[in-house]
Amino acid sequence: MVTTALDTRRARHIAEQVPDPELPMLTLADLGVLRDVVLTEDGTVVASLTPTYSGCPAMAEMRADVAARLRDAGYTRVEIRTVLHPPWTSDWITPAGRRKLAEHGIAPPGPAPRGGPVPLVLSPTRHAVTCPRCGSPDTEETSRFAATSCKSLWRCRTCREPFEYVKEI
């Protein structure tokens, strides 16, 4: 079987459109967990995914969803690979992904820390998170952890609404 660049693009496009199971307004491409899609010489689609967090329970679901979508599109040989390195960072959420998060009331992450382990800081840090509903910068964190590993809980002091924030990691 001869594969063409067009076939690869089609397979990639299909995999890219799979929604995230926990943030369904985002595709796996928006979230940055779909690292690569290639079509090999023998017609196997190899899709590479990386987990957001080690314990992310959605990972198995993502693998199954990508494989099912590709098979539904006629690719009989599908292989899903897990890529652990480099580890996922919230910086990989695309501009489109960030816009969609904000549209759904979830504040997108700021830039992730770089260059190895972050030292422990105990003094209160003023973290500028903008309310995704009213745009006010006057917000406060209510919990570092929320309904999924990747988010924290915040509230807006201006419009009084609670909201979620995707943590930078």
Binding site: R63, R81, S143, F145
Partner: protein, 275 residues
Amino acid sequence: MSDDHVYMTLAEGHEDDTRWAYGTGFEDPLHGVDTTVPEGVDAGELADVCVALADDALVSAQRLAEWTTRAPELEEEVALANIGLDLLGQARLLYSRAGQVDGTGRGEDAYAYFRDADDFRNVRLAELPNGDFAFSTVRLLVLSSWRLAQFAHLVAHPDPVLSAIAAKGVKELTYHRQYAAEWVVRLGDGTAESHRRTRKALEQVAAYFGELFTAYDVRDEVAAVLCQVTGAAGLPMPVYRPLPGAGRAGDHTEHLAPLLAELQSVARAHPEATW
């Protein structure tokens, strides 16, 4: 998929059997990762390191999960459960790596569910009962600082899989340590009662320091963090004492076996179950 009835949706056959967190046929979390052991790496030693770090994480995750429905506030319950979930994820990856390299080909379930207390290699600090919230947060501070320091070193490990697991874990553990440190400061610098309890917790935890600093040279790094936190919390720096025996050699307190009995009960009652 029909969503007319929740049960029907749940019972619907799932092609890859990957949907559920327990049951044989559960997908290997290292699925599709290159499993070759690099030249010059002793596979037995690598497996031992993975199992020890996985056991610390699994036992800690089980203790953290016990706070669910019992934490002082909903936010703390969610935080502790999330931290436990991260550790459980690290344990799964490490057990899977151990099974690939120790020559047995065992899956993660074999390590988590079908070994007895004597075979576990976690440090004893991880298995002690939760006590009050002060004890749990002080212990979390010590264990997360210790684990973070070890993982930061393991990023340079010649095994690329262990290195990648560590690199991922460093990011997660940074959040765990931050959470625990803020609580220890809040409690130590809080009321007379919270200060008294946190001080007592620190003494109880310090009695188990002895076995933390045998592998990897991370004692100074952990001590620096504890010094920073106790200083901000108005607490005395705990005294290091040697401790006979080692969890890493299979020596455990009487608290590990009941913890495992609960953790392993379903898997052992239905060893071949799939659902």
